[in-house]
Each structure stands twice: as C-alpha cells, then as structure tokens.
Amino acid sequence: MTPGGILLEDIYFSYPNQNIFRNFNINIPASKVSVILGPSGCGKTTLLNIIHGIITPQKGVITKEHNNTISYLFQEPRLLPWKTVSYNIELILKNFYERKQRQQITNQYLELIGLSEFADYYPAELSGGMRQRVAIARAFAYPAEIILMDEPFQALDPGLKLNLTKLFSSLWIKDNRTALFVTHDTAEAVFLGDEIFVLSAVKPSNVVAHFTNPVPREERGQENPECKNFEEELYSLLTNA
C-alpha cells in the first residue's frame, strides 16, 4: 500500500438479509483519482461507507493512514432542511476556520457552483440539481486528504456537468489528494479517473475488472479518440454484463 492510499483485504460484509462482500479486496492508490463502476445495487455505496468507516465490516482488514481526514459526497444531498444553503456549507467548516474565513470559503464555493444568489434559500426551496450542487460545494469545501464521492454529478444538465468535472479536475491538480468516486457515466469515468474498478453484478460482489487509464490527464477530452475507445470499451463491458 502506498501511503495515503487505502487497502481493503478479505472484507466480509452482509446486511441482515443479504451478503454483499466476501473476501473482498481492493487497493485504492494514494494521490490518484479512482473510479468505481458497477450495476445498480451491487454494493458501491456500501463500499464507500466501509472505506469511510460509517459502517463496519463483519470481518477483514482496512489499512489506511491514521487520522486521515475524509470528505464524503453522499449519494443523496443530505442537507439540513432547517439551515440555509450557506449555513449548510459553513457548518462543516467549523472545526477548521474562524467565522470570517468560513463565510469567505462558503461564498467562494457557492460562486463556483453558480448558486451565490441562493445562499439564503432553504433546501426545500431548491430544485433537485441545485441541492446536488450544494452537496458538491460542501464536499469540495471540506479540507480533507481523501475525498469520496457517490455519483457526484447526477441530476445536472450537460453544461453544468462539464463545468463541474472541469472544476473538480482543476481543484484536484492543485493538491492531488486521494479521490474515489462512484459513477454510472463512463465518459466521466474516463475523463476523471486514473484507476477504474468495475464491480460484479452477482453478489457477493467483487472487482471484476481493473483498468489504468491509458490517457494522461492533460490529454483527456471528448475529442481524443483514445478516450473514446476506452470509454466504448467500458460501456460495452457494463451493458453486456
């Protein structure tokens, strides 16, 4: 295991009525963007939860650096309904910054996701995509060494999606933190991911395929035929499985 990375060995996990992982192994490299692909219900969210520590596997060894701070973008926005948009972001910065600085960071991220005008709205007054964006801002704003994201760019229009993937890329290049995200969008996977893991449809789930993105980050893009090919490979793997 590289330092800053995460290593899961022989993980066993089951919910009361079904077994999700048995002898599950995965090695998330440090300072890279890893992507998890896999059919609906195969255990991707469960895996992120195990890595984060929200749920505890019944057996197995998880090796990660002690005291690593982790930011988590959940599959659902999970905003506090009784707090405004800006307060929802400010709140999670409390451990790190003074009030002034918190507000400044909050405003900066609201700007980035295009919701500055909506700072004082309550979540119930937002559209689905807007809530997702607030959740994105929150996850990005949180200072952490590892970032986990569960379908981060869902519910967004193509324009926003493009902007936000680019935004993520540019933010990531600054600090190269270990990132792991789940997506159903192969284009996104190819554009952002350095390592790509595909989980199996049958449970207990396992990593059925592992790719290293052949295209260096700077050269990736819709136009690049290598990317196109790689994406098509992934797409056909997922649609035939």
Binding site: H52, I54, T69, I70, S71, Y72, F74, E76, R78, L80, P81, W82, K83, L91, I92, K94, N95, Y122, P123, A124, R138, Y142
Partner: protein
C-alpha cells in the same frame, strides 16, 4: 380547460363561522342539559353564569386571583419545560445518562401527587405547591416527547455530520434539537392544557390566598355553582389564550423538510 385567477380568501372566514356555530351549539347543549337536570345548584344555565361572571369580575380579588394563577402556571410550565427539555435531550443523546436518570424519571412520572404533597408542603411555600404539582405532571410529558423526537432523528443526517467530524455539541444544536422541534411542539401543545388543569387542581387542595382554585373551592363551599362555573369559564379562556399563543409560535416556523 382551466382558467386561473387569484381568489382564495373566503375559506378562512368560513372556518371562523364553523367555529362560532360550534361554540353556540355547545352553549345550547349546556342550556338544554341544565334544563333537563332542572337544578341550578348542579348546573345553572349559561345566562346565570354570565351574570355571575360579570358580578365577580368587579372585585379586585378576582383580577388578582387570575394574575396569581397565571403566574403560577407560567412558572410551572417554564420550569417543567426547561428541565424536561434538557433531560429529554440528555437521555436521548446518551444511553448511559438515560440509564442513570431513568429510575428518577420513572418515579417522577408515576408518583401520585397525593403521596408527595406532604413533603412538598414542607419544602415549598403554600403558593408554590401548585407549581410543584404542575411540574410533576408536565415534566414527564415534555421528556417523553423530546426523547421520542431524538429517537426519530434522521440517521442519514447524523451520518453526514459524523462523516464531517462535527463535534457532539454541533450535532446537538444543529441536527438533534432542530429535528426534535416537531415533537417538542406536540409536547407543548399537550402540556399547556395540563398545566392550567394541574395548577388549578392543586390550588383547590392547598388554597393559596389569591387563586382561581381557591375561588372555585370557596364558591363550592358556598354552594354557588354559578360562581364555580364562572371561575371555570375564566380557566377555559386563559387556557385558550395560551393555546393560541402556542399556535402562533408553531406557525412562525420558517423551514419545512423536503424528501
């Protein structure tokens, strides 16, 4: 085909009308029952009570009694609410605290008022006894509601908060307490009536100098049933006013949850 223009105001006045009719209906029912029973000493007709109400409202004692009883009720309510809320939060947030406090709370919840009134009389001034009784009744109601509220907190939000390493205090103030608000409101709604009732009942027992309960007891001693009911009407009106205040507070809440 539907064409929309704005119009939506009649409804409210309609509801008021229904409320009025129903109040009149209750008064009518009262009148009928009083005729059926045929004994003013048991249930005088509404108009007698009104006359008596006007008569007693002329004395200074009347207004002082209302004031004192109101103060006692407010005092009892505030005390029980404060302690009940804190206890409920403490019990709901930690299983250990809950285990430690649970015997005491069970006793408070269950102890018959009569059994503890002797001790209460030693510890409190007479006119505080109603406050104490009110506490015994309301404290468990608030605690029960708050701790139920806590056990209903959306766990996905708690998960989110601990994922972002929020401190226990932040979780308490920004997630737990806001989530319990609907339950606290339910508790308050329930407790308001009980507060008045228990204060007045305790006043009837301990007879402080100025008190609605004392008024009721004296009138009853004098077999002045109309006066008893006049005091009762006052109690109902006071309770209604406080209910209204609570409704105002409830309505002033800004946010609502979304799915």
């Amino acid at each position: 085909m539907k064409v929309f223009t704005s119009a939506n105001e009649k409804k409210l006045s309609n509801l008021r009308l229904i409320g009025l009719i129903s109040t009149l209906f209750l008064l009518l029912l009262w009148k009928i029952i009083s005729i059926k029973i045929g004994a003013d000493i048991i249930l005088p007709p509404p108009e007698d009570v009104l006359i008596r109400l006007i008569e007693i409202s002329k004395s200074r004692n009347f207004w002082q009694s209302i004031l004192k009883t109101t103060i006692r009720t407010l005092y009892g309510f505030t005390l029980s609410f404060g302690l009940g809320f804190i206890t409920g939060i403490a019990c709901g947030s930690s299983k250990r605290v809950s285990a430690a406090l649970s015997p005491l709370i069970s006793v408070i919840r269950a102890i018959p008022v009569m059994s503890i009134i002797l001790i209460a009389m030693i510890w409190f001034r007479t006119d505080m006894v109603p406050v104490f009784v009110c506490f015994l009744m309301i404290f468990p109601i608030i605690t029960a509601n708050v701790s139920q509220g806590i056990s209903e907190v959306d766990r996905s939000l708690i998960e989110m908060a601990s994922a972002f390493k929020l401190s226990r205090l932040n979780i308490l103030f920004h997630i737990t307490i806001p989530s319990t608000i609907p339950f606290v409101l339910a508790g308050v709604r329930a407790a308001v009536g009980v507060a008045w009732k228990s204060v007045i009942a305790a006043e009837v027992l301990s007879l402080p100098v100025k008190a609605i309960g004392t008024g009721i007891q004296f009138s009853q001693m004098n077999l002045e049933t109309a006066e008893v009911i006049a005091w009762t009407v006052i109690a109902v009106i006071l309770s209604k006013i406080s209910e209204f205040a609570v409704e105002m507070v409830i309505k002033s809440r800004k946010w609502r949850s979304y799915q």
